[in-house]
Amino acid sequence: MNSCPIAISKDFIAKNLIKLSLQNTHKINLIWLELAGCSGNIISLLNADNPDINYFLTNMISLKYNNSLMAAEGEKAYRQFLETLDTEFILVIEGAVSTKAQGLYDVVAKYNGQYVTGMEAAKLAGERAKHILAVGTCAAYGGISAAAPNPSESVSVSAFLKRDIINVPGCPVHPDWIIGTIAHLLVFGVPELDQKNRPVIFYSINIHDACPRRSFFDQRVFAEKLGEPFCMFKLGCRGPVTNTDCPIRRWNDTDNWPIGDNTPCIGCAREGFPDLMEPFIRY
């Protein structure tokens, strides 16, 4: 066997960490609850690459409930939701909690002849979940579902559940932000969060500070219309008030992103989107 102490300790650290993480990942269940929203965050998750959705489902978590992907339907699907409540699980919520008409603006299932509203499902799972992630701007802040005059009286998950949650905003959320946050939970525990409960690793960067067009801003070279390769500030860019790592991470495995596509940032990951971020484009 290996007698070198350094080699042994090397083994010890790396292997054990991996083992530890794998053990954990095999255990934990995950409920991905879609509420009042566009169900676009689960689509964004499907866009993930390295790890992709297949790796995420086989090696990281055990996705017990998700309206868009699960094979089961009807009561049998909802039963899987209920069964998972008695286990240790992570709850991911996308979409806002719609509270109008006792939640009847958003019904997620019918069980034993009774409607299960999004509100009830969020409450049921929210009380028992080990961790809760509010994914997407609707879940994190109300977002577009709560846009004035908020016909469905939608509220954010944190306003509804009143317990510690992790906000992962973005419209939609970037797949790396959600998979990265879950990986952190699984392997290294709760990630460092900022004042708005967002993981610092993804949301500490101000878009304007890291924007490749920043030198144009500083030199006052402004685009007068969309499609120009200059700073979008005069068209209403919300980069200066939005914190995400879009300028360096970019989207969909391309080097493109909204500002790279010659359009202003509309602050989709910021609290107050969309009402306080409008007008999106102003000439």
Binding site: F233, K234, L276, E278, R282
Partner: protein, 143 residues
Amino acid sequence: MNIHNNNFSCQLSHITYRLSYYTKVFFSTPNPWEKMYYVNLISNELFWLNSLTQQLWEYFTEPNNTIEEKQFTLTELAKYTGANGTPAYAAVNGIVYDVSLEETWGGGSHFGLIAGKDLTNQFKSCHQAEAILNNLPVVGVLI
């Protein structure tokens, strides 16, 4: 030339930059011809600097340019919404501020507010400290 114009301070900083560079080379080169050449360049820059200070002086003595004189009515203020290349002005407590280049005011709009208005009430309902206004260029008063 407009003294508020960014161009002005840009020119000024370019001149000072060049001055310090030429002086540095002047002292570091042993070649007398080169020294003469740089003295010449420096005096050129001084000429430009002089003309800029002249402008500052003119601005200062010109009565129309003093802050109290630039007066806005609400209708006049309403022209400065930041749309279509106009500057973005907003009034708080009777003073008109230029928010054209304020980073949180992209496109002349700020958290649902649009420039070109008296936003005193909105300001008070959102910002406690008036200190943030101190960093904004003042362009006049509201009458």
